[in-house]
Subunit: 223 residues, 2 copies
């Protein structure tokens, strides 16, 4: 069910509940981060915890976040402890009792702190990686960033130094005494599919969406 390639980087990031589902395999961490559509960033402000959803990209062992220069969350990520979480849900897990209902999932938690990327080319690369993640291959078709747009954008990097994954796979774990109950049990896989593209109102007539839009997510599993 899980792979243990090494232990946690720190005790803080050690998986506590159901440690048999834990992994500290960096390849698995990267894979989950790349598949998750969004992630969440938790930070402390005035002693209280906050968590907000945000887009992320990963390059090597670094996560990148972007936003406006006025973004409070990005500000709070700098030099202070934060926690990033990303989860892909693979299936509903439906047992035969009220007690055995769950999900199969792959989840990552990253502890660390952010630092700002100020190098112009590195900022450009992070923004292009974001586009490529949302819609692979679309970057070269787009009007490049202006210097003003780049200047108004803040990029924060978080290293993947202290992270853990947690994975549940497989069927529900019913009591043997429940096996004969006359109710279906098993896994219901879930995935994301695209609907019909909605053109922007000013779109020049005759411009059709490319195949990468229509087939979006075809290589994906999970939600």
């Amino acid at each position: 069910m899980t792979t243990h390639t090494s232990g946690p980087a720190t005790d803080r990031v050690r998986v506590r509940r159901r440690a048999e589902r834990a992994s500290y395999d960096q390849d698995l961490v990267r894979e989950i981060l790349d598949e998750a559509l969004l992630c969440r960033v938790a930070f402390v402000d005035d002693g209280r915890p906050y968590v907000l959803p945000t887009l992320h990209t990963r390059q090597g062992d670094t996560l990148y976040f972007h936003g406006s220069q006025q973004n409070r969350m990005l500000d709070r990520m700098l030099g202070e402890p934060i926690c990033v979480e990303a989860t892909v849900v693979d299936s509903l897990v439906l047992g035969r009792s009220v007690f055995q209902n769950s999900m199969n999932y792959r989840s990552v938690v990253v502890l660390g702190t952010g630092h700002e990327i100020v190098d112009r080319d590195a900022k450009l690369a992070a923004m292009l990686a974001l586009v490529d993640r949302l819609m692979p291959g679309r970057g070269p078709e787009l009007r490049p960033l202006t210097e003003a747009e780049l200047g108004s954008t803040r990029i924060i990097a978080v290293p993947l130094d202290e992270c853990s994954a947690k994975v549940r796979t497989g069927p529900p774990v019913d009591r043997e005494a429940d096996y004969d109950l006359p109710v279906w049990a098993g896994e219901l896989p879930l995935r994301i599919v695209p609907g019909t593209p909605v053109p922007e109102p000013h779109l020049t007539p005759g411009i059709e969406p490319r195949d990468n839009l229509v087939s979006w997510g075809s290589g994906r599993s999970g939600v």
Copy 2:
């Protein structure tokens, strides 16, 4: 794009970035919480923020969380400030420039603290609500909870007193100068669909999944 029915309950929960997307409408908050497959709970432990994914249910103006009696997150939710976040992604928003790539989403942030539900019937009701949320109509088919199972389960309630929603809808907002670029722009709706049910290995031959499995999510929009 958004509805302002009233202001935020506190300044802490006021939406800071893009306040024009904010809403403090309790009906909208409820709708988003009910649609989101998972939520995230952020808490502070030893001065550091943590965020974990978890299943939730809502009844009236209360959120319910469940887990084992040993669950650290549930423990940290009691009497301490926490933040709950839930987001539904409705579409990718694809503009004509690298600067205009986003998502349409509906997001909720709840601030507050948890209290434990100890009443036996209230615990049962919360567990049944969880099953009903995962798979509507499945509860009555299942073997009920035993007293031991109920005793090993902790239910934490969080009131929806201090919450806000943030919603983005509509097309990308490109510069007029970009309208004539020869690239498709618009929204790509996303939704969750079920795959082929995978029977639990001990399933009695002849038991087929019910229609509510095969049609799971047919009323859903978003991810």
